[in-house]
Amino acid sequence: MTVTNSTGAPLLEVRNLGVGLNTSRGPAQAVRGVSFSLRRGETLGLVGESGCGKSVTALALMGLLPDSAVVSGSIRLEGRELVGLSDVDYCKLRGNRISMIFQEPMTALNPMHTIGRQVAEPLRRHTGCSAAEARKETIALLDRVGLPDAAGRIDSYPHQFSGGQRQRVTIAMALACQPDVLIADEPTTALDVTIQGQILDLIADLVEERGMSMILISHDLGVIAENVQRMMVMYGGTVVESGETDAVFTRMGHPYTQGLFRARPRLGARKGTRLKTIAGTVPELADLPAGCTFADRCAIVETRCRAVLPSVVDVGAGHGVRCLRTDLSMTSAGGVGA
C-alpha cells in the first residue's frame, strides 16, 4: 500500500517489505507487503494492537532483527538498498542516519555506565570528535532535551533518574548525530500520563527543529492523531489503512480502524458505560488466515473476504484501504470520525 508523494525523491522508501520469523509455534510471517515512502521532514505514524507487526517493521528498518529472520522486499535510504546490507555497513548507519527511541527507558540504558558516556557514545563513534568535544556536545544535548542541571548530572548513573528523565536521556542519545530518520517505538507507553505529553511535544519540537523524518509507533490513536502527518494502521502484519492523518480520521475506511476508534476510552461518558471492544483476538502470526486477516473479528465479513488477501482500494487522495467492502464500511461508519 503506497501513499504517493507529489514531489521530491523520498528519503526512505519501503517496497513490499516482508519479515518471516521463527517462533516457537513455527515459522510466522510477521510483516507482509508493507510499502511506504517518507520524505525529509515528514512524520508517519504506525498504529495497531500488540503483535500486529509495528515493532518488527521498525526493527527491520534498523536492521536489528534476529539473524534467523528472513527479510524480503526493499528498504532504500536515499536510494541505497538496506535489505541484505552487511552488519558492518549497517553499524555505520545506525545511530548516525537512522536512530531509534525505545519503549522502556528503564531498561534501554545500561545501568553500569554513566548517562554522559552513553549519550556521547554515538557521537564519538560516528563523528570522530574528541572526548572533550563529545562531552560538551552531550551537555548541550541533555540540556536541549530538558534534563535539569545537565552539566552537573552528566556523570550520574541511570538509576539516579526518574522514568521521564531517562526517556529524555534516550532521546538525547538517539538525536546525538542528527539522524535523518528517527524511529520512536512507543516512546511514551511506559511513562506517566502527565509526562507523556511533554515527551511527545519534545520529540515533535526536535523533529521540526532539525528537519528529521519520524516514524512514530503507538497503539494510541490519540497520540497518532496529534503528532503525525500521515498514518498507517497495521493488523496481522499488513497495513490495512493508510493516508493523511486528517483524511483517515475523517473517513475511516477499514472496519478495524473504526473498531480501534470506537474502543478508545472517553472522558465524560456516563458512569457504568461499558468500554467498547473489538470481539475476538489478534490472529496468531504463525497461522494467519488465507484471506483478510481481520475476517474473524469483522462485523461485515463475507465469504469472499476469507478467500484471498484483499488488495488496496483507493478511497481518496493518498488514502488507501485494504478491504473488499469499503462501499459498505464507509457509508455505514462514515460518521465515526465526526
Partner: protein, 298 residues
C-alpha cells in the same frame, strides 16, 4: 518548550557519588559467610606469603634422626617421616596450592570467558561448535585428563596446572555464555546496537561489565575446586613432585603411616578443608553481595 520541562520531569533523585556497587562495602561486614570465608581465605593467602620470607625450619631439609616427632616447642606440629617440620611444609605447601589455583583458574577464566563471549555474540554454528566442544571437554574429569597429560609430558606441576586449567574452561564457557545471552536479550543492548555499536564493542562495553560479578563468584568457587583437584593429583603422584612440598603430597606420604601417626594426615587435610571451605564461603558471600536484586534493598 524546553524551559518549563525542567520543573516537570519529576523530582531529581540525586544520590551524590553513588554507584550501583557502593552498598557492597557497607553490607559486606554484616554478611556472616562472606566474613568467615574472607578470613579463612586470607589465612591461607597469609600462610603462603609468610612462607616466602619466613618458615620455622627449612621445608627441604631432611633430618631422619628427628623423624615422626610429636608436637613440641621446636616443632609445633611435629615432624614427618623424613624429619621435616610439618608447619614449614604446610606454609610452603600453601604457596604451591595458591599458585596452581591462580594459574589454573587464570587459564580457565581467560579461555572460557573468551569462548563464551564469542559463542554468545556470534550465535549460530559458532555457538554450537563451542558449546559441543566444551561438552566434550567437560566429559573428561580433571584427574583423567591429568593422567593422559602425564603420560605425554610426564608428571609435574606443569601437568597438573595444565590439566586443571583445561578442565576449568568448559565451566567458564557455560557460565559466561548463559549470563551473556541474558544480557544480549536486554533492551539496552538493542539500544546500543541502534546507536551503531558493533558486536565486539557491545561485548566489551555492555556484556562483560554486566556479567563480571557472576564471573568473580564462579572464579572463587573454581579456585576451591582447583585446590581440591591439585591435592588429588599430587596425592596420586601426578602433580607437584618431591622435594617440592604440597598438601596433596603430604597426604600421600602420611597414608602409609596412617596407624602409626594419624595426625600427619589430619594436618594437610585440615589445611585443604580450610582453603576450600573459605573460598566456597567467600564465593557464596560474594554472590549474595554482588547480586543486584539484593543490592537494591537498602
Amino acid at each position: 518548550m524546553s524551559a518549563p520541562l525542567t520543573a516537570a520531569a519529576g523530582g531529581p533523585v540525586i544520590v551524590p557519588g553513588a554507584r550501583p556497587s557502593t552498598g557492597f562495602w557497607r553490607r559486606a561486614p554484616r554478611h556472616r559467610s562472606f566474613v568467615l570465608g574472607a578470613v579463612l581465605s586470607v589465612l591461607v593467602l597469609g600462610a603462603a606469603l609468610l612462607s616466602l620470607v619466613w618458615t620455622p625450619w627449612s621445608a627441604y631439609d631432611i633430618d631422619v634422626a628427628a623423624k615422626l616427632q610429636p608436637p613440641s616447642a621446636a616443632h609445633w606440629l611435629g615432624t614427618d617421616v623424613l624429619g621435616r617440620d610439618i608447619v614449614s611444609l604446610l606454609l610452603v605447601g600453601a604457596r604451591a596450592t595458591i599458585m596452581i589455583g591462580v594459574i589454573a583458574v587464570g587459564i580457565g577464566l581467560t579461555c572460557g570467558v573468551c569462548l563464551g563471549l564469542i559463542a554468545s555474540a556470534r550465535k549460530g554454528w559458532t555457538e554450537e561448535l563451542i558449546m559441543r566442544m566444551s561438552d566434550f571437554t567437560f566429559a573428561f574429569p580433571a584427574v583423567l585428563s591429568a593422567i593422559m597429560l602425564a603420560a605425554v609430558i610426564g608428571p609435574g606441576m606443569l601437568t597438573s596446572i595444565t590439566a586443571i586449567g583445561i578442565f576449568q574452561i568448559p565451566t567458564f564457557v557455560r557460565v559466561t555464555r548463559g549470563s551473556a545471552n541474558a544480557i544480549w536479550a536486554r533492551e539496552f543492548v538493542l539500544a546500543a546496537r541502534a546507536a551503531g555499536k558493533g558486536k565486539f564493542r557491545i561485548t566489551i562495553e555492555h556484556v562483560l561489565p554486566n556479567i563480571l560479578s557472576v564471573l568473580i563468584v564462579q572464579a572463587t568457587i573454581q579456585f576451591a575446586l582447583a585446590i581440591l583437584a591439585e591435592a588429588a593429583l599430587s596425592y596420586l603422584g601426578l602433580g607437584t613432585q618431591p622435594p617440592q612440598p604440597s598438601w596433596g603430597r603430604m597426604l600421600n606420604d602420611a597414608q602409609t603411616l596412617l596407624f602409626q601417626s594419624p595426625m600427619l594426615a589430619v594436618y594437610p587435610g585440615v589445611a585443604i578443608a580450610i582453603a576450600v571451605l573459605g573460598l566456597n564461603l567467600l564465593g557464596d558471600g560474594l554472590r549474595d553481595l554482588l547480586d543486584p536484586r539484593l543490592a537494591r534493598e537498602r
